[in-house]
């Protein structure tokens, strides 16, 4: 049984080509200005993947929700809340605490969307704001412990066989998600529910559980990213998740996942993350001022979607 069709792979091919174009353009630039090609060195690429793993894990979770035609805007403060609560607890319980926060937020989001039928765009935005308030309240009166535990430092900064451990974590999450999407009943139900919820429900799929499950995966992924990011920056701090929401959505959509749900392959999301990470890095090597970077970054996203749209309507 082939689980993919050609039109679905087209965005993935285009995004891959664009990754190559970015690398070549960046290399041409560095060759002409400095006479070297740092972009193509394995060390540089591994370092990019290491910093990209935080975004990659967030995007993996976000993809589950987008496959349902929903969105999870609570990623930034779910990530932050998981990280801050985990460091405050500290010790061996730090990691379970982070995951616990993720599961709790995911259950809440899923309950709001699946059972209360509140549009996810509103509900998760509200949850995000509530989490921010809770975190501000937590740090308001006293200073909780915020330093990363040794295991966080290991996961984010150490290397195994010369490869950053964070990349192994990302790879592990990716394998689990890819396997789940293609080879489990839950994964196939996710596509069916995102494709047409009514038909999925009348096929006897427990669509509400599927929705809750997707939001839980999204929040758990955000909390894993929070753990890694804490290790990477050596501490948890307010606003640490702010930079991840829009790039995560962009990576999923650039990877060919249909924003209205039902279609998309996980490999596309991976490539989408790599594309965004490399684009940012090449623009910073070029010493492009911040304003210019934002403009180019945004234009690339819109431009890529237009290219996809020439072949298949993006919104239909």
């Amino acid at each position: 049984m082939r689980m993919s069709v050609a039109p679905e792979n087209r965005p993935i091919v285009i995004a891959s080509l664009f990754v190559v174009v970015i690398l070549l353009a960046g290399t041409a630039y560095t060759l002409s200005t400095a006479g070297s090609a740092p972009l193509l060195s394995p060390n540089y690429l591994l370092q990019q993947l290491q910093t990209g793993s935080f975004l990659g894990i967030c995007a993996a979770g976000m993809m589950m929700v987008i496959l349902l035609g929903q969105i999870d805007l609570s990623i930034p403060w779910t990530l932050t809340a998981a990280a801050m609560t985990a460091t405050a607890v500290g010790g061996d319980l730090a990691l379970p605490t982070a995951l616990g926060v993720g599961i709790a937020v995911g259950l809440l989001n899923g309950f709001g969307v699946a059972y209360l039928r509140i549009p996810s765009m509103i509900f998760t935005l509200g949850v995000d704001t509530v989490l921010r308030g809770l975190m501000v309240a937590q740090t308001g009166g006293f200073a909780p412990q915020d330093t990363a535990t040794p295991i966080m430092l290991f996961l984010a900064k150490d290397k195994l066989l010369g490869i950053p451990v964070a990349i192994f974590v990302w790879a592990g999450v990716s394998l689990l998600i890819a396997l789940m999407l293609t080879r489990t009943g839950f994964g196939r139900s996710l596509y069916a529910t995102g494709s047409r919820e009514g038909a999925a429900y009348l096929s006897g799929i427990r669509t509400k559980w599927v929705i809750v499950g997707a939001f839980v995966i999204s929040s758990v992924c955000a909390s894993i990213a929070g753990v890694l990011l804490t290790g990477y920056s050596a501490k948890a701090y307010q606003g640490m998740g702010n930079a991840f929401l829009l790039p995560a959505i962009a990576a999923v959509v650039l990877g060919g996942t249909h924003i209205l749900g039902g279609k998309g392959r996980y490999i596309g999301t991976l490539i989408g993350v790599v594309l965004i990470v490399l684009l940012n890095s090449v623009l910073s090597i070029m010493q492009m001022p911040e304003a210019g970077r934002q403009i180019i970054y945004g234009s690339v996203i819109i431009g890529m979607l237009l290219v996809y749209g020439r072949n298949q309507r993006v919104t239909s």
Binding site: M1, R188, Y191, A192, G204
Partner: protein, 507 residues
Amino acid sequence: MTEAIVEYRGISKYFAGIRALESVDFACHPGSIHAILGENGAGKSTLIKIMSGVLQPDAGEMLLEGRPVTFPTPHAANDAGIVCMFQELSLVPDLSVADNISISRPPRRFGLIDRRAQVARAEELLAQVRCEDVDPNALVRELSLSRRQMVEIAKAIGRNPKVLILDEATSALTSRDVQTVYDLLADLKTKGVASLFISHRMHEVDALCDTLSVFRNGQHIETFAKGEKSEREIVRLMIGRDVEAHFPPKPAPKPVEERGEELLNIRGLKWGNRLNGIDLSLRRGEIVGLGGLDGQGQKELLLALFGVLRDVDGEFHIGGRKGLPSSPAAAKSGDTRIALVPEDRKTEGLMLGMPIADNLLAASFSKISRGFLIDPARARKAVDEEVERLRIKVGSVADPVMTLSGGNQQKVVIAKWLMTDPDIILLNDPTRGIDVGTKQEIYRLMRELANEGKALLFYSSDYAELIGCCDRVSVLYSGRVVSEQEGDAITEESLVAASLNIGVEAA
């Protein structure tokens, strides 16, 4: 007779090559109340949609007071004095009654809507339909369904119609309001308005109309004055004589003690005001039909049995279980499994954009899995078996299901459910909009499934199918079983008569 106010000359209309109306000549006259009769799909709706500018005819011409006209939009038809009240109420729930009544042409002052004049106008019209109790400033969503229908009527009258079309306009009214509408129509008749009245209630037609026209299969069969024909003759005109499809032979009826085990027994099933106490029993090896006109509760009954509806009252035994399943997921599992082939295959039966294989497997993930993981070999085998068994014509099962023809799409829906090995199969008009060849395959399949010991409950809007396929038929009328027919007693006449809730003796 006076000159016709609206006249059709050779009007035809096709939908995707299927005729809805063919060379229809038809006329209605000022000062008459004219009933349009026909079965589901006879062309009544198309007829009035063309008159009111919703649809354009493919051939023929329409004359208004002797002059040829075309109505590109409903607005143009309104301007010409043709006002239509459709079955689906056309009120905006979040606007006030007064806003709704004047929605297309509100009274203006200095270019702005004159609210005071609008309310006064609403009050005047509501008084005409004896609904003084309705506050013109109330929101339509706060009104009951019968009040809304009266507001709809007030709105129609406010447009000063020359031709007033009422499509099932009395279906939700209380008997007091029905009387009001009768009086109103009688009053309009004296003022020279032509009313076209579409109703499935023969006694209303009898009480109200002076002229009757019968349609069948998109053709105008006959027009005659009230009293010229008996109800029995009218029913015969509506059915016609030609039977087109061929059905597999039915087994001879067996005495009760030799019949299969009873799988389903329901008593007094009630749901809201749509289902009003249904009794039904279903045995292994039989096909039971649900008859009646569209919208008499058949769809709701099937959904209730499949665990979709909430707050259903009554006494239910399904297999060994008491009570209805709590959800489709519960319905398809357990000892007595239920399957539903839903009404609309494009939105309820299929995920159109997804591959054929995924659609086939959508109800059976647990069957093809080992532990958590789907076994690709089992999945492929299950898909291949069903494609083979139902002879679904596919290029590759990885293609999106929307690339298939309607008949093959419906086969995919049926195959999806056969994969779960159901005991009870509920079918909601499974042959609608598919070609004759596939229809016959489906009839054969249904009989095979019954012979394998499954129980089938089959709703069809086509009487011929019910007669050809079913061992028994229960006819529904406003949420109740009004007639149960068995074996050779199932005839078109008896079904049509029961659908209109006319006593069989009277017909």
